[in-house]
Amino acid sequence: MSKLNVTRRGALKSGAAAGAGLALPTIFTASSANAFMNEPTGSSVTLGFNVPQTGPYADEGADELRAYELAVEHLNGGGDGGMLNTFSSKVLDGTGILGKKVEYVTGDTQTKSDAARASAKSMIEKDGAIMITGGSSSGVAIAVQGLCQEAGVIFMAGLTHSNDTTGKDKKANGFRHFFNGYMSGAALAPVLKNAYGSDRKAYHLTADYTWGWTQQESIAAATEALGWETVNNVLTPLAATDFSSYIAPVLNSGADVLVLNHYGGNMVNSLTNAVQFGLREKQVNGKNFEIVVPLYSRLMAKGAGENVKGIFGSTNWHWSLQDEGSQAFVKSFGTKYGFPPSQAAHTCYVQTLLYADAVTRAGSFAPCDVAAALEGFEFDGLGNGPTLYRAEDHQCFKDVLVVKGKDNPTSEFDLLEIVEITPAAQVTYPVDHPMFAGGALGECNNG
C-alpha cells in the first residue's frame, strides 16, 4: 500500500505545472489572435484620423475631419452613400468593413512632425487604431508614414504634395492618393506656355522645406523643358510672414514671371505682397509680368481674396467637376455641412474608401494583405477619372486639374475655374525618375 505523501512544496510545484499546462493553449490562442498590430477582435474596427486641429492649417484639418466623418457614415450605411454609389469597386455594402462597424479616433498633428507622430503613436498604442490617415503637410506626412511603417499599420496620406512622400521617403505601409510636385509641373507647364509663350524668365520664391524644394525643382524642370529660363530661386523661411523684401528685387532681376512655391499662410502673404507691389500691372521684357501659384487650395485662395484672379495653378480636385463621383460627393458633403468640400476633404474621403475597399477585397485587416490589395489597384468613380495605385511607389496616377483664379466669382466658394484636365498619361513618370530616387519601399510590416 502506497502512502500518499503531500507536502506544501509539492503542492505548489504541481499547481504551477498544472497552471502552466492549462495556460499553454491560451498563450497560443492569444498569439494567434494578435497576428498583426491592433487586429480587430470585436464587432468594430477603429481608424485613426490624424489632422491639424490647431495651428495654421486648422481650417483645412477641420474640413478633412468632416470628410472622414462622412466616409465613416457612408461605410456604416448612413446618409446617401456618397461615392460608394459611383465607386467602380462594388464590394463595400454599407455594413462597415468586413462586417465590423467603423469607429474612429482623432489626433491633432498641429502641423508639427513631432506632435503628429505623438498623436499617431497614441492612437495606435492606446486606441488600437488599425490605420492612420490625414495631415496637411508633407513634413508631417513623411514623419507619420515612417512611424506607421515601424508600428506595422497602414498609413493613408492626406494632403501631401512633396515628391519625397512617394519618392525617397516612400514606405511599404504608406499610400498617397494626392498628386505631387512633379505632376503639378507636368500639367502646368504646357498651359503656361500656351498662355505666356515659351520665351519667359522665371523667378522662384520657395518655401524652405521638403515640399518647397521638390515643388520648385519640378516646376523649374518642366518649364525649362518648354523653353523658359529660371533666373533665380530664393528660399524663404517657413515662418516668414512679410515677403516684401523678397519680392521687391524681382522686377529688377530681368524676370517676367514670379513662381510662388508657397502653400497656406505663406502663399496668402507672398501673393498678397506681390500684388501690392503692383507686379501684375508691370511690363518687363516687353511682356506683361505674370505670377504663378503651382499648388492651389480653395481654402487658401479664399485667404488671398481678389489677388488670385487670373493666376494659374494646379489642384488635385475641385468641387465644380461634373463627373458622377464628384457630384455625388459634393451633394453628400454640401447637404450635410452647407458648403462644398475642399480638395483636402476629397482626398481624405477617397483614402478612407480605398482602405475599406482594399480590406474587403483582401478579406483581412492585416496590413500586408491590405497593401497587396492596394498595389496596382485600378479604379474609377472617385472624382479623378480612371486611377492607378502604382505598386512600385504607392502613388496614385490620375488626371490633374490646371486651374485659374476666377475673374467673376458668383459665390464665396466659386474662386477657381478649371482651365484644363491634364490626362494621367501626361503626368506619369517612370519609377526610377531622378526626382524620386534615393529610397526604397522596403518590406511591408504587419506589426
Partner: protein, 343 residues
C-alpha cells in the same frame, strides 16, 4: 545703390510696425513695470477690428435669383449688403471699400476698453510679483485671446484689402533718375509709414506737452515721490495701459491690408518686438522707435539674395545677432536708462 534704397524702403513699413508695438511695450514697462507678453495679441486684436468692421459693413440680406444655381443646384441666394441698400450701390460700395481706414475710429474705443479691462481685471494683481510671473500670465492671456479669435474667425488668413485708391505702387526709381520698375513701393505701405509717424509723434507730443504726460513722465522717473505729492499715479498708469493698447491696436488695424490677418499674427511680431525693446533700451521710448526702424531695415537687407548667398540663413537670425552685439557693447541698449531692470 538702387537695391540699398529699395531695402531701406522695405524696412520702413516693417520697422513702423515694430516701432509701434515696441512703443506700447515700453510705455507699459516704463509706467507699470510689467513685461506684457500679451502685447502682440493686442496688435492682432487691432487687425481683427478691421476684419470685424468689414464684416459688419458687408452684413447682407438674401434674395433668391431663380436664374442662377448654387453648388447643389438649388436657386442661388444673392447677398446684398445693407449699406448698399440704405445708401445706394455706389455710396454703399465706397463705405465698404474704406472699411480699413474707418476701422481706426471703430478700434480706438474698443482697444482702450480692452486695455482697461486687461489691466484692471488681471495685470494689476501681478504688479508686485516677479517678472517671470508677469510673463507667464500675460503669455497665457495672449494664447487665450488668439484662441478666442480663432474660434470666431477660423485659422485661415482673412483678406482685408485697402481702399482701391491705394492699390498699386509708386515708382520711386523714376523720381530719383533710375530706370522704371527698379525702386517701387506700394502706396498702402507709404500710408502705413506716415500713419506710424503720426501716431509716434502724437504719443511723444502727448507725453511732452500735456500736464497729464508730465505727471506720467514724473511717475516713470520716480513713482514714490509723485505719489507723495498726492497724485493718484496708478490711475494715470492704467490710462497709459489703455493708450498703449490703442497704439498696438491701431498698428494692427492699418497692417491688415499688408498681410491678411490671422489669429497667430501677434505672436509673429511679439518676440521681435521684445528684441526691439531690449535693443532700444528698457524703458526708453525714443530707443524703442529707433530700434524698431533700425531692425526693420536690417531685416530687409538680410533678405537680399547676395547677402543670403554669402551668409545663408542670415535673414532668420539677423535681429538676434544685432541684439547680441548691442547688448555686449551697450548692455543698457541703444538709449537705455540707468537703473531700469538693474536692481
Amino acid at each position: 545703390m538702387d537695391a540699398i534704397l529699395l531695402q531701406i524702403l522695405n524696412g520702413l513699413d516693417k520697422g513702423s510696425a515694430y516701432a509701434l508695438i515696441a512703443l506700447g511695450l515700453t510705455l507699459i514697462f516704463g509706467t507699470l513695470g510689467v513685461v506684457n507678453f500679451a502685447h502682440g495679441a493686442l496688435f492682432m486684436l487691432g487687425a481683427f477690428c478691421s476684419v470685424t468692421l468689414s464684416r459688419l459693413l458687408t452684413l447682407s440680406f438674401e434674395t433668391i435669383d431663380e436664374t442662377k444655381t448654387d453648388f447643389l443646384g438649388n436657386p442661388m441666394k444673392v447677398k446684398t449688403p445693407y449699406v448698399e441698400a440704405w445708401f445706394g450701390p455706389e455710396t454703399g460700395a465706397a463705405i465698404i471699400d474704406w472699411a480699413v481706414p474707418l476701422s481706426i475710429l471703430f478700434a480706438i474705443p474698443i482697444m482702450i476698453s480692452i486695455g482697461f479691462a486687461m489691466e484692471r481685471g488681471l495685470i494689476k494683481h501681478f504688479y508686485k510679483r516677479p517678472h517671470a510671473d508677469q510673463i507667464l500670465v500675460t503669455f497665457g492671456l495672449a494664447i487665450v485671446l488668439q484662441e478666442i479669435i480663432k474660434y470666431f474667425f477660423g485659422a485661415n488668413p482673412i483678406p482685408t484689402p485697402a481702399p482701391d485708391v491705394f492699390k498699386g505702387s509708386f515708382d520711386f526709381g523714376v523720381l530719383l533718375g533710375f530706370d522704371p520698375n527698379v525702386i517701387i513701393y506700394p502706396y498702402w505701405r507709404m500710408v502705413y509709414f506716415l500713419f506710424a509717424m503720426i501716431i509716434i509723434g502724437g504719443v511723444f507730443a502727448f507725453l511732452q506737452f500735456t500736464t497729464f504726460g508730465m505727471v506720467v513722465r514724473a511717475g516713470m522717473a520716480d513713482r514714490e515721490t509723485v505719489g507723495l505729492l498726492g497724485i493718484d499715479i496708478d490711475k494715470r498708469f492704467t490710462m497709459m495701459f489703455g493708450l498703449a493698447a490703442a497704439v498696438a491696436g491701431l498698428a494692427g488695424v492699418m497692417y491688415a491690408p499688408i498681410n491678411s490677418p490671422n489669429y497667430h499674427m501677434g505672436m509673429d511680431f511679439l518676440v521681435l518686438s521684445f528684441v526691439v525693446v531690449v535693443v532700444g533700451g528698457m524703458g526708453s521710448l525714443p530707443g524703442a522707435v529707433l530700434a524698431g526702424f533700425l531692425l526693420g531695415i536690417l531685416e530687409s537687407f538680410a533678405s537680399m539674395t547676395w547677402v543670403k548667398s554669402i551668409l545663408p540663413g542670415i535673414d532668420q537670425i539677423i535681429i538676434y545677432l544685432v541684439a547680441i552685439i548691442i547688448l555686449l557693447t551697450r548692455p543698457r541698449g541703444l538709449m537705455g536708462r540707468k537703473g531700469v531692470m538693474e536692481d
